[in-house]
Amino acid sequence: MRLIHQRTPGVPVTSLSLLLPGTGACRDPEPRQGLTRLLLRLLFTGAGGLSNTELNGRLERLGATMGHGLGSDHVALRLTTLSDNLDAALELFLLTLHEPAFAEEEYHRLQAELVSGWRTEREESKQLRAYEVYARTLYRGAPTGYQADGLEAGLRATTVAEARAHYPRLFGQGEPILAVLSDLSREEVARRVGERLKLPPGEPLPPSPWEGFAPEEPPQRRVVIVPEAGTNTDEIFCGAFSAGETDPDWHIHRLIALIFGGDMNSRLFRIIRGENGFSYGASCWYEAGQGRRPRNRVGPFSLYTFPSAEHTARALPLLVSLYEELVAGGVTPEELEQARSALANSHPFLRDTPQKLLGLEIEEALYGVVTDDEATFRAKLEAVTPADVARVLRATHHPERATLVLLGDPARLEPLAAALPGVGQVERVVYP
């Protein structure tokens, strides 16, 4: 097991993350999307003969909590505790890892809670509803197209036996990483935690049918309408597969994202919000850089805005035309210079807190993503010309093949979608 450590002087808290690569939400078997999330929640509900209340009661009185993180391609088992109580809290964490109860009663309660919570979260956010449809459409059924919390149907269908059977598979994949943020020194953490943290035996996961999957993109633009009447704003996502974080031109991609829709000074924000007042926000990003998708694989470049319904007729074609103009016309020397300054001068914020330093080490360990030091990064940025940006845009951006998802009143949105140039297909997808 590899130990990664960052010290947080003056903050008497120790946070352990046991990272288990090669697992995660993308390894949920179909049609059990949500299995890993259910399993992880169940894990902390009793162990070693202690009930849920007994286990967590002891832990919470120590000023500690256990929990999890769930990525598309890894799992994190977490313990956070007041450092004074590290030894006692770790004892309970180890008990949980080695002797989980996986009680049937807890399972059924949790299942009902998660199903209900899954639905409530989506009812609160139509942005999430639209984004889910967008990601599933882009990834065409591949597990990377689902949110880490799974599907309502998957959560309902999963059984406690399946959860129990999946547990050893969390430990049977890549080399575990122990990431620690603490006021204690690395040596002390290694002695008090690293030496005691033995993992349960693991089992291999069956091969994923999606390994190496590369989504086939449509020959021309497609639009998916998610019909919802009575909304005050519409949701618009637009994007196509573009690049991953291990791309040698990743620094140029970062410049593109910043210039086009990365902050308040970007084209999308300035034109859609600042000059026209169509929407409260407009932005873009590379999915690989967001952590929702594997960072080291090619992922979509996404545009997003949510205009007031009365402005959608103008905001939608404007968004698409701005993307086309970017790819066709590139960026101006002035824009490039501003973005270069912004990225280079903000570089210290990649490393300004112990948490961020730990995060960079985790990314390197999980994905092989190495973040340049400031001097190297500045030199790379200095060398970028508008012609380089144009080359990367032409090679990796395809607005003519973009997928658009529009959530709102279909009677209003369908004519707008049909009027967009180059649209080959308009379909309706009712959010389940």
Partner: protein, 432 residues
């Protein structure tokens, strides 16, 4: 300027508190491990200062602060901040304060100080830009209108307060926002934005003498403005229980908030009330969590004192909020809350629950102090809310002196026979 006080925050961050003859106050907080700085400007004005015909003007005006000044064209502010490496540029308006914040490399503080001092007194409020920004603000309002939680919050505040302006949404009402004029904005600016109405906090790693000189040069010559308006007196105590029920077309589960009136944030009962909130819901073994979540009634429960965290400087509320599971009526959650309160009233605060609550609150407090901006907010937020920059630190220390008996006393005082406010949100019959 005058050095008012030197203080070591949390025993590790030296802070110097300065005041200028024009009334500006500034706090320079040194974080020895940080290579960057947070710059936070709190103004002593929020939506509580608005007249009845201008609800939402404080927030609308906050948007205008990012536009044009006598020295800068529209767009220059965002561009300059980005170019010098600023990240997280944003602002928020609440009931009693408006705050502007950004993180910058220390070398960029000179430019940020110039920008912030410029817009404090030199803003240009052209009708054209007001109209453009109105679109963005209305877009923000429309976005919130589509969120069920916003309806619940607005209903709660309107039911809890009678004459006090907390009853109105900070963001205001569409009809009024649609009509804000150049004269309205100019009047608001002249009445509320001036050095004597502002508190500046610079937190991080920087040359303090140099930054102090920059602040002095930029802000020192500015003329003071009108004094702060007197706070609106609190409503009289509730004479009877209150109930409010709303329906929403986009939800399938019910929500409930049960609250009682509590005194202002500086009242000596507040630390014990915070601990009471922790006793009720901090952790999976908290009695309300058990009765609501573990017993399968709901997916979420929280209890909190709505004071400075909610930017309520005046008398506030103690609330218990529940998200129900599918098919469970809000009445069952209300009965469960009352049952837990009755048990605690009759039996006292169990020592294990008290210990859990206190340690969980310690864990939460320390875990929340990991960035320069969180330290800056800790100082600046209470400097404007109650004229005590060390208030949050003192409150935290006070938690360690609270006894279980004192928690029981406040439980009796505020819940014993006090009238309740109960707000329920239910699915609209027949809606999808």
């Amino acid at each position: 300027m005058e050095l008012l006080q030197e203080h070591t925050l949390l025993g590790q961050y030296p802070v110097r508190h300065y005041r200028w003859p024009n009334g500006l106050q500034a706090f320079l907080l040194h974080n020895p491990i940080s290579p960057v700085a947070a710059y936070l400007t709190h103004y002593r004005v929020g939506s509580s200062a608005e007249a009845d015909h201008e609800r939402g003007l404080a927030h609308f005006f906050e948007h205008m602060m990012f536009r044009e000044t006598a020295r800068l064209r529209d767009g220059d502010f965002d561009r300059i901040v980005a170019e010098c490496g600023g990240v997280g540029l944003n602002a928020f308006t609440s009931y009693d304060t408006t705050a502007y914040h950004v993180n910058v490399p220390a070398a960029a503080l000179e430019r940020i100080i110039a920008l912030e001092s410029d817009r404090m007194v030199n803003l240009r409020l052209s009708p054209d830009l007001i109209d453009k920004e109105r679109g963005a603000v209305l877009g923000e309002m429309h976005m919130y209108q589509d969120m069920p939680s916003e309806q619940l919050w607005n209903t709660l505040m309107a039911a809890a307060f009678d004459a006090h302006p907390y009853r109105h949404p900070v963001i205001g009402y569409v009809e009024q926002v649609s009509a804000f004029s150049q004269a309205d904005c100019t009047r608001f600016y002249e009445a509320h934005y001036a050095p004597n109405r502002a508190v500046v906090v610079v937190a991080g790693g920087f040359d303090e003498a140099a930054v102090l000189a920059l602040l002095d040069a930029a802000y020192g010559p500015l003329a003071p403005g009108a004094p702060a308006v007197a706070p609106v007196p609190p409503d009289p105590p509730w004479s009877a229980a209150r109930r409010s029920e709303v329906f929403h077309g986009k939800i399938s589960t019910e929500n409930l908030v049960l609250g009682v009136r509590t005194p202002g944030m500086t009242h000596p009962d507040l630390p014990a009330l915070h601990l009471l909130a922790g006793v009720l819901t901090a952790g999976r073994t908290a009695p309300l969590y058990q009765r609501i979540v573990l017993d399968g009634l709901g997916t979420h429960v929280s209890a909190q004192v709505m004071d400075v965290d909610f930017q309520l400087a005046s008398p506030g509320l103690f609330t218990c909020e529940v998200s129900l599971q599918h098919g469970v009526g809000a009445e069952r959650a209300e009965a469960a809350i009352e049952g837990v309160l009755a048990d605690l009233l009759a039996g006292g605060i169990p020592p294990a629950d008290f210990e859990r609550a206190r340690n969980q609150m310690r864990l939460g407090f320390f875990s929340g102090l990991r960035t320069n901006m969180s330290l800056a907010r800790m100082v600046g937020g209470t400097a404007v809310a109650c004229d005590d920059p060390w208030f949050a630190e003192a409150e935290f220390e006070a938690l360690s002196r609270v006894t279980p008996e004192q928690v029981h006393e406040v439980l009796e005082r505020y819940f014993g026979s006090a009238p309740r406010l109960v707000v329920t949100q239910r699915p609209q019959a027949g809606a999808s």
